[in-house]
């Protein structure tokens, strides 16, 4: 068992490498942790069971030093009230994390706002169907995101100015979920420069077809998801070009190793989380058949803890919620979970662009772009997306 393995799982959302500073930043990730937990549960349970099953209260989230509350048996009426209370407690806690001075959300109450946690907060509110909560200061959140865009189209994560293509995805996804990015928004022209954001992403593309965190940075599968996802939200996937799409899909397909798992960069070990980062990008590009899907599903299944539950980064490591979510999401994207529906199991599917259950995406009216592919039948589960027809030549 690798005790160090759990470090990766408990680290930041979209974290791409382990480092001293990120180790410390674990204290900031509870917002993302709640998002991973809720979305993971949402893929396994019917919506009305998610809140009741979560067992998270405001006290246990915001006061980590307090001993856990002992649960007691309840009758049906009390359980129903508890469901409402739990949902309310989570939403209340999300609003407790709002940074009034900045206009975004922090990882925990009292922490500075950051795009990573702002997206997680908005995703949680979307899951809880609470985007219309009067406490949500939409204009402030939109302004927080827009002010972080730089002159070259890139986005900083917060006021301290770190630039990363992760933040481009976070900003565009947040704005899109808030209906502040798209044709149905009267404020579209004032929010962010979508085309400049897309052009910056293209500048981060490397000769191998992959994308890095900034211009000239090494290609990484996690960044590929962010860049392709951002282009999908911006409806700018045509910028990849036919040749560029094939080159990128080839690079992603080469991430599959003998075990069936996927790694994030050449010569690295396979890791369950790349089941999501890579599969989602391939799904958006209509090229999921470019990898061996059964071998990947087998790898994810081998990473399960068959005694305590949860999924680890690789077989025989400690499970954690980060990899549990992305493992479940990977199996959902592969279609394996839905193959069980004829056995009486009901699973919600996940959207490859927004990383939310597809019914939530449909309810919000979100319509990201996906690429059509003449060699692969369109994924029927993505019928609500805007399909860009394939072209022969790169643009």
């Amino acid at each position: 068992m690798s005790r160090e393995g759990i470090n990766n799982g408990l680290c930041l959302s979209l974290t791409l490498s382990f480092s001293f500073s990120k180790f410390v930043l674990h204290f900031l990730v509870r917002m993302s942790g709640v998002y991973w937990s809720l979305t993971g549960l949402s893929l396994l349970l019917p919506p009305d069971q998610v809140d009741a099953s979560m067992g998270v209260t405001k006290a246990t989230i915001s006061k980590p030093l307090a001993p856990p509350t002992q649960s007691t048996d309840t009758d049906t009426a009390t359980a129903s009230a508890a469901t409402t209370t739990t949902r309310q407690a989570i939403v209340d806690w999300v609003f407790d994390c709002f940074d009034e001075s900045a206009g975004g959300f922090g990882g925990r109450p009292g922490h500075d706002a950051h795009l990573l946690y702002t997206l997680s907060a908005v995703q949680i509110l979307a899951l809880a169907d609470c985007l219309e909560d009067p406490r949500l200061q939409r204009s402030a959140v939109v302004e927080f995101c827009s002010k972080l865009q730089q002159a070259d189209g890139s986005f900083a994560g917060d006021k301290w100015g770190e630039i990363d293509t992760r933040f481009t995805y976070c900003a565009l996804s947040t704005l899109s979920i808030l209906q502040a990015l798209g044709n149905n928004s009267s404020t579209t022209a004032l929010v962010v420069h979508v085309n400049k954001a897309a052009q910056y992403i293209l500048q981060c593309r490397n000769l191998d077809g992959g994308f890095g965190s900034v211009i000239g940075a090494e290609s990484h599968a996690g960044q590929v998801f962010c860049c392709v996802g951002a282009l999908a939200i911006a409806k700018n996937l045509h910028l990849l070009g036919a040749d560029g799409t094939d080159l990128l899909a080839w690079w992603l397909a080469e991430r599959q190793v003998d075990s069936g798992g996927l790694n994030g960069r050449p010569e690295k070990q396979a890791d369950v989380c790349y089941s999501w980062w890579i599969l989602s990008a391939l799904s958006i590009m209509g090229k999921m058949s470019w990898i061996n899907r059964d071998k990947l599903a087998g790898f994810i299944l081998k990473c399960q803890d068959d005694e305590d539950g949860g999924i680890a980064d690789r077989p025989d490591d400690m499970a954690d919620v980060f990899h549990t979510f992305f493992g479940i999401a990977g199996l959902s994207l592969l279609g394996n979970l839905h193959s069980l529906e004829d056995q009486g199991h009901v699973y919600r599917s996940i959207d490859p662009v927004y990383a939310l259950p597809t019914d939530v995406v449909v309810r919000l009216g979100l319509q990201a772009q996906v690429l059509g592919n003449r060699d692969e039948p369109a994924d029927k589960r993505l019928s609500y997306c805007s399909v860009l027809a394939p072209k022969d030549d790169s643009s």
């Binding site: 674990h26 549960l41 299944l301 539950g309």
Partner: protein
């Protein structure tokens, strides 16, 4: 860490691929829903790791 031979007999398992371990759907629900308590429980691995990181931050702050 669980052994690969142990069967989760008390929980729902579903077979995705014939030659691979089953999918432990109910175990994963149980795992996620128990996390909030585990993080605050010093006797759990997750709680111990959280405490370790708190100490680490305290050292950095001083």
């Amino acid at each position: 860490m669980a052994s690969r031979t142990a069967a989760a007999t008390n929980n729902e398992t579903v077979s995705l691929l014939p030659s691979e371990p089953p999918f432990y759907s109910s175990l994963h629900v149980q795992y996620i829903t128990s996390l909030a308590a585990k993080l605050d429980l010093s006797t759990s691995y997750e709680g111990a790791l959280t405490e370790h990181r708190k100490l680490f931050r305290c050292i950095l702050n001083h």
